[in-house]
């Protein structure tokens, strides 16, 4: 089996969870990876300070889209004020694959977009 394109990565890429739009929503953000053009947006529904529901939408490589799908399942239920604290390492561990430096931003785009939605901070997670 391929070390990067593992079965579950391809499954999330081909059948992304929590994808689409959410109307109405309380938070939204849209961003892209200028290196490769991967695009990702998010709609978030907030209840009692927690992520009650969310939808990602966009287009890009298998890594960026699978990462959004995988992370979406972890984010629902989290407190909005703890989203900015989620680190790049947390996401990479969650994916469970070796990400080369050239693909790191593909993986991190979903986290960047969530951070943007919760705080308006457009910087890349570290």
């Amino acid at each position: 089996m391929d070390a990067l394109y593992r079965d579950y990565i391809l499954d999330h890429y081909k059948n992304p969870r929590n994808f689409g739009t959410l109307e109405p929503h309380d938070l939204d953000w849209h961003d892209h990876n200028p290196l490769c053009g991967d695009e990702l947006g998010v709609h978030v529904h907030v209840e009692d300070g927690r992520v009650a529901d969310l939808r990602f939408h966009g287009q890009g490589c298998a890594i960026s889209q699978a990462a959004a799908s995988i992370v979406s399942e972890e984010l629902i239920g989290k407190r909005v004020d703890e989203l900015p604290e989620l680190s790049a390492d947390w996401l990479i561990d969650l994916l469970g694959i070796d990400i080369s430096p050239t693909r790191r931003k593909c993986a991190l785009l979903s986290l960047k977009v969530m951070r943007g939605a919760s705080t308006g901070d457009a910087s890349w997670p570290e």
Partner: protein
């Protein structure tokens, strides 16, 4: 119909040291020459020899070493000018094609384009031939317009005539060969039609000079920009060719040493052409290296190189079409395109394709290729792109096709 397999029209791979590399036991297949070309031993040696034997600053040194460096550098300029059918005085060294285009947008554009005027470019331009005009138009109140690109990746001369006929276009900017679609644009015809209505033409020749004969004396463009590193030369040197009258009237682009004839506290007067547009120490080793690259291309012959590119490209178009779900962009007729094939495969993003090709030691590019407006026109977020130069052969295309089929297997398509 499959074209008959032939021996490589040109077999020069042994001249390119980097192509001897193996990655995990696989021979390196380099298919990204539209981004930058590899360098032959002759170019590497010319640069090495300059630093080992003749390095000194050029132009005003009176000692032998400085004279030798100057002769090598200016001799390269002379041969580069002749190579594309231009004159020594109107062959200006820049950092790259981007700087050459910016030079025109600043030095000519700021004095000649104003509110109500139009700059006309095309939807297939590289960002280097878009952004300088956006900046010019923002600052002067002029309007930037785009000629459309057809489904087969071509421009319409009728549309050009219609826009020129409105009488507001001051300059037409167009790629000689598209870095994404491979389209060879009819630049002589475009320049003639622009001239007929009093507009100038700037041609971005970055993808043309490396792979086909270019004769500026026949082309009729007012400005022609290209870059050395795509033409087997080093990075850090590009060229702007322009009509002498325009260069004489244009103010300098950058100020500094070498571009002046005299400087006082009150002001300065400008050096003669081409030095008026070359402020600061020149890219000496790079110019010498580019001269060696031109000699190398010339020795093979640009007609032969063009025939080779056409053969490999035609073969590539045939072979990639065998891959299920693959869509290739650009003119279907190899006669009308240069050595580049952009494509997309249903169900695999171009970045994943490039990553999986890399596992097979096949280097292709994926992304927007610095042509985001064109990507939107083609309604794709990105494409994968294989591009060829004189050192590529049909078997490199076979390796690409095998890698693409392998990518489909990994994605279980």
């Amino acid at each position: 119909m499959t074209t008959a397999a032939t021996e490589p029209l040109v077999d020069v791979r042994a001249d390119f040291p980097i192509l001897g590399r193996e990655l995990e036991g696989r021979r390196l297949v380099y298919l990204d020459s539209a981004a930058t070309s590899q360098k032959p031993e002759q170019v590497i040696q010319a640069i090495d020899s300059h630093y080992r034997r003749t390095n000194a600053n050029v132009h005003r040194g009176v000692y032998a070493l400085a004279r030798e460096a100057t002769e090598l550098f200016e001799g390269a300029r002379e041969r580069i000018a002749r190579f594309v059918g231009d004159s020594y005085e109107t062959t200006i060294f820049t950092k790259n094609a981007t700087e050459a285009i910016n030079l025109v947008a600043y030095s000519w554009g700021r004095g000649n384009v104003g509110a109500g005027d139009e700059v006309l470019i095309t939807q297939m331009e590289h960002h280097s031939n878009i952004v300088p005009w956006q900046l010019l138009c923002e600052q002067t109140g002029a309007t930037l317009r785009y000629l459309s690109v057809s489904e087969t990746g071509e421009l319409s001369l009728d549309e050009l005539d219609a826009v020129l006929g409105e009488g507001r276009v001051k300059l037409v900017g167009v790629a000689h060969v598209s870095n994404v679609l491979g389209t060879i644009n009819p630049v002589a015809e475009i320049a003639a039609r622009a001239r007929a209505v009093g507009a100038l033409t700037l041609v971005d020749g970055s993808q043309a000079v490396p792979q086909m004969p270019v004769d500026l004396s026949e082309l009729g463009a007012d400005f022609y920009a290209w870059t050395g590193h795509k033409a087997l030369g080093p990075t850090g040197v590009g060229v702007l060719h322009a009509r002498r009258e325009l260069l004489e009237e244009m103010p300098p682009f950058l100020g500094g040493g070498d571009m002046i004839s005299s400087v006082s506290f009150e002001g300065s007067s400008w050096n003669e052409l081409p030095f008026k547009f070359e402020a600061g120490t020149s890219p000496v080793a790079e110019g010498i290296g580019l001269g060696a690259a031109i000699d190398y291309l010339d020795a093979i012959g640009m007609e032969r190189i063009r025939a080779h590119e056409r053969d490999v490209t035609a073969y590539a178009l045939e072979r990639v079409a065998e891959v299920e779900g693959l869509r290739a962009f650009g003119p279907p007729d190899p006669e009308r395109r240069g050595g580049v094939v952009s494509f997309a495969i249903d169900g695999i993003h171009p970045h994943d394709l490039a990553e999986l090709c890399d596992r097979q030691a096949v280097c292709i590019r994926a992304g927007h290729h610095c042509a985001q407006p064109l990507m939107r026109r083609m309604d794709v977020p990105a494409t994968a792109r294989a591009s060829f130069h004189v050192y590529n052969a049909r078997e490199d295309v076979d390796r690409l096709v095998d890698a693409l089929r392998g990518a489909r297997e990994v994605f279980a398509l």
